[in-house]
Structures are given as structure tokens and as C-alpha cells.
């Protein structure tokens, strides 16, 4: 009986650890997206206050390529949309991973109790 519970606990613990790892990875991704979002928002703000005939360049590899202001604005807006979508996707993933992790944690706690009980019973008999 006790062995059985211990086995179950080990597998739950492994799943818990995997979920925790996944969670940490996702949070890191979220932070990166957040940074990109802040950067692009700042760029968009800057482009929005530029004069229409201002020169804008994009750094592609080692060279600066001239780009139309409107095109640059559009590109940044598109990127912001994409980043926002990604943020939402990651947020959903984070909450689902979190709930899975909590589920494993609760199971571990339950198994721990069972283990203690069965040990107590063994001592009694």
C-alpha cells in the first residue's frame, strides 16, 4: 500500500516539476514580449510625432535602409498587433500551466496524507 502511494507520488512530483519548468519558461517569454512591446510603443510614439517628410531608416543587418515614414509606421503597428496577440496567447498558457501545476501540488499533498495514514495504521497493527 505504502509503496503504491509512493510510486504515485513520485510520478505526480515529476509532473509538478515539469509544469514548474514550463511555467518559468513561459514567464521568461512573457517578460521578453513585454520588453518588445514597450520598445515598439516608444518607437511608434516617436514616429507619430515626426514630420511627414522626415527620413526614417531601418537597420537590416549592418546597413541602414531608407524607409517611408508611413511604411515604418505601418510596420511598427503591425508588430505591435502581433506582440499583443502573442502576449494574450502566453497569458492563457501561463494560467493553464499554473492551474495544472496547482492540481499536481494538491494531489501530492493528498498522497502525502494517505501515506502518513497508512504508516500510522501499520504501526498500530
Amino acid at each position: 500500500m505504502a509503496e503504491e502511494i509512493q510510486k504515485q507520488m513520485q510520478s505526480e512530483f515529476d509532473s509538478f516539476k515539469a509544469m514548474q519548468k514550463e511555467y518559468v519558461k513561459l514567464v521568461l517569454q512573457r517578460q521578453q514580449l513585454d520588453a518588445q512591446m514597450n520598445e515598439n510603443t516608444a518607437v511608434k510614439k516617436e514616429l507619430d510625432i515626426m514630420k511627414d517628410d522626415a527620413d526614417v531608416f531601418k537597420l537590416i543587418g549592418p546597413v541602414l535602409i531608407k524607409q517611408e515614414l508611413d511604411e515604418a509606421k505601418q510596420n511598427v503597428s503591425k508588430r505591435l498587433d502581433y506582440i499583443n496577440g502573442e502576449l494574450k496567447r502566453i497569458d492563457d498558457l501561463i494560467s493553464s500551466t499554473e492551474s495544472k501545476r496547482e492540481g499536481h501540488k494538491q494531489k501530492i499533498e493528498k498522497l502525502q496524507k494517505q501515506l502518513q495514514e497508512s504508516k500510522a495504521k501499520m504501526m498500530m497493527s
Binding site: 515598439n40 531608416f57 541602414l64
Partner: protein, 151 residues
């Protein structure tokens, strides 16, 4: 040597565990905040540095000879072709051309922005510090009370 066993009731044990977790968390928060502060400080210095350099860029510089660094220790001669406009890296691989005055204005604005962020972070640092101190005091209290009673 006689071993003194300290009996802790379950509640106290849990309280200690919780408080330690809170303390660890606020310590972690504090570290993150402090490193953010350092990054902001570096950004601030870069921005004000660029601003000060721009204040020295005047129309009289046109056509003047300068040394252009190719590497950290090697230079070639060059002449300033345009002292009115500069290219600014605004982030996300975008560069915009601005005249010197609007460039100075850009760096001033950015610098103010960074300053605001620093003030926000500073506030969080103070909160995290107080929380850390409070939890530490609570822990100390528990240890002193429980341990002195049992001995």
C-alpha cells in the same frame, strides 16, 4: 551533550514556513528592482551623454576635419559633411533623421521618461524593503517567543 528538542506546534511551523517564503520572495523582488534601477541609471547616463555631445555640435563644425574611429584604437581622417542633422536610434532597429535641436529635445524627453520610471521603481524598492524588514521582525518574534518558552 544533552540535545534539546524544541517542540513546535503545527501552526507555528506553518507560520514560520509562510513567513520565510514571503521573506524570500521580497528579497528576490528587491534584487530584480535593484537591477532594473541599475539598467535605468545606465540608460539615463547614455541619454544625457548624447544630449551633451549634441550641444557641442554647431554649424561652425561644417567641413572640419575629424578622426573617425574604425576600431577602438584605429582612426581615419574624415570631414564633417552635415553638422545640422543626426541619425538617432529610436529602438526596434529604426533610425530617424533629426536636426540637432529636435535631437536634443528627443534626448531630453527620453531622459525625463527614464527619470519617471526610476521614481516608480524607487517606490517599489521602498515597499519591498519595508515588507522584508517587517517579515524579518515577525520571524524574530516567533523564534524568541517559542524558543524561550520551551527551554
Amino acid at each position: 551533550m544533552e540535545e534539546k528538542k524544541i517542540q513546535l506546534d503545527f501552526q507555528t511551523y506553518q507560520e514560520i514556513e509562510n513567513l520565510t517564503a514571503v521573506k524570500d520572495q521580497s528579497e528576490k523582488d528587491l534584487k530584480t528592482l535593484q537591477s532594473s534601477m541599475e539598467y535605468l541609471d545606465i540608460a539615463q547616463k547614455k541619454l544625457t551623454g548624447s544630449q551633451h555631445v549634441l550641444e557641442k555640435v554647431t554649424p561652425e563644425m561644417n567641413g572640419k576635419e575629424i578622426l573617425v574611429p574604425l576600431t577602438g584604437s584605429m582612426y581615419v581622417y574624415g570631414k564633417i559633411a552635415d553638422s545640422d542633422n543626426v541619425l538617432i536610434d529610436v529602438g526596434a532597429a529604426y533610425y530617424v533623421q533629426k536636426d540637432v535641436n529636435s535631437a536634443i529635445d528627443y534626448f531630453k524627453r527620453k531622459s525625463i521618461f527614464v527619470n519617471e520610471q526610476m521614481m516608480k521603481v524607487e517606490k517599489y524598492i521602498v515597499t519591498a524593503e519595508t515588507k522584508q524588514r517587517e517579515t524579518e521582525m515577525k520571524l524574530q518574534e516567533i523564534f524568541e517567543n517559542k524558543l524561550s518558552v520551551k527551554q
